[in-house]
């Protein structure tokens, strides 16, 4: 997917240069400016995520997300999922491993859904673009929705 993205970007840049050199240089300048603008937050968040994942291991997570953990387990799963931000290629195998080691579908659904939709560590970036209120409303709504997803999936699977 990343390769495809590079190909698209390079082709677009090539076409752009063919049409107007000045505009293309301006586009690259703008690209760099908006990247540098958000870089301090990006770097800070990377360190926070690294520290958090170093402390929270899969074994620890699976201990609290067992099938019998019920709503308590769902809440814990939602809290862990909301705070952390894990790349998907880590998150899905982790969720699959948790299921095998005894976690329930309801808890895993809460974990996966909040992991993707709710981002507490990334809030500084979101606030930079959307302001405090919109950020809090969106994350709170996504958290509530994730709990509904967990409930439905717990009943259906």
């Amino acid at each position: 997917m990343t390769t495809a993205l590079y190909i698209i970007a390079l082709v677009a840049l090539g076409v752009s240069f063919f049409k107007s050199k000045e505009k293309s240089i301006l586009a690259l300048k703008k690209a760099w400016k908006s990247f540098e603008n958000i870089l301090p937050q990006f770097l800070s968040i990377l360190i926070i995520i690294g520290m958090m994942l170093a402390v929270l291991t899969p074994e620890q997570i699976s201990k609290v997300l067992g099938n019998e953990s019920g709503w308590y387990g769902v809440m814990i799963a939602a809290i862990i999922g909301s705070i952390t931000l894990v790349p998907a290629f880590v998150a899905f195998p982790l969720a699959a491993a948790l299921l095998r080691s005894g976690a329930g579908y309801m808890q895993i659904a809460a974990f996966v859904s909040t992991l993707m939709m709710v981002g507490i560590v990334t809030m500084p970036i979101e606030i930079k673009y959307f302001g405090k209120k919109a950020t809090i409303v969106r994350n709170a709504a996504a958290l509530a929705f994730s709990l509904v997803v967990a409930l439905v999936m717990g009943m259906a699977l």
Binding site: S34, I47, L85, A142, V152
Partner: protein
């Protein structure tokens, strides 16, 4: 020159603080410290690999796509077309959710409707096509499909709800922010 350096330190102060904290952990709790540095490093590499094309495309979009065009397809009166474009844009994306915020910024700057921008964010966070395949293989097809169907409705509900909760003035401020980026 001096004020420029000072400004740089000021902007990166939280990052510097965290870096020192991580070094302290490395010294006092070497096991946790090494693991966290490794994780940070691999995430950093992931970020560096996926961000350049996203930002190049954003720069090109900013320069070539006119405000009127964007407003027509994703603006206030874009209707179902705008919603569909927002869903597709988010679903076809690559990279973690935090990479979606700069994209959101450019869409706003060009006059896209706020709820459409939230739909793009929602789709970016959960309905990315390569992720769905991955999810199906890790957690089962039924798990993926059930979540996808609920997510499509959920994303739209969250987007409209968030927009409804904001006053006219707050929305205006969001657009002003985007223009200042």
């Amino acid at each position: 020159m001096r004020s420029k350096a000072l400004n740089l330190v000021k902007r990166y102060r939280i990052f510097l603080l965290l870096a020192f904290l991580n070094i302290a952990i490395l010294i006092f709790l070497p096991q946790v410290g090494v693991k966290s540095v490794q994780l940070t490093w691999s995430n950093f590499i992931e970020m560096l690999s996926v961000l350049p094309p996203i930002f190049i495309l954003l720069g090109l979009l900013d320069v070539w796509v006119q405000r009127e065009t964007m407003t027509k397809y994703m603006g206030e009166h874009s209707g179902l077309i705008g919603v569909l474009i927002a869903f597709l844009l988010g679903s076809a994306a690559a990279g973690p959710l935090y990479a979606a915020f700069p994209v959101a910024g450019v869409l706003l700057k060009k006059g896209s409707k706020l709820s459409n921008v939230f739909i793009m964010l929602g789709a970016w966070s959960t309905t990315k096509i390569p992720l769905l395949l991955f999810e199906a293989s890790a957690l089962g097809f039924k798990f993926m499909l059930l979540r996808l169907v609920m997510d499509i409705f959920g994303i739209a509900i969250i987007a409209y709800f968030t927009e409804k909760m904001l006053s006219k003035k707050e929305k205006e401020e969001i657009y002003q922010r985007a223009l200042a980026q």
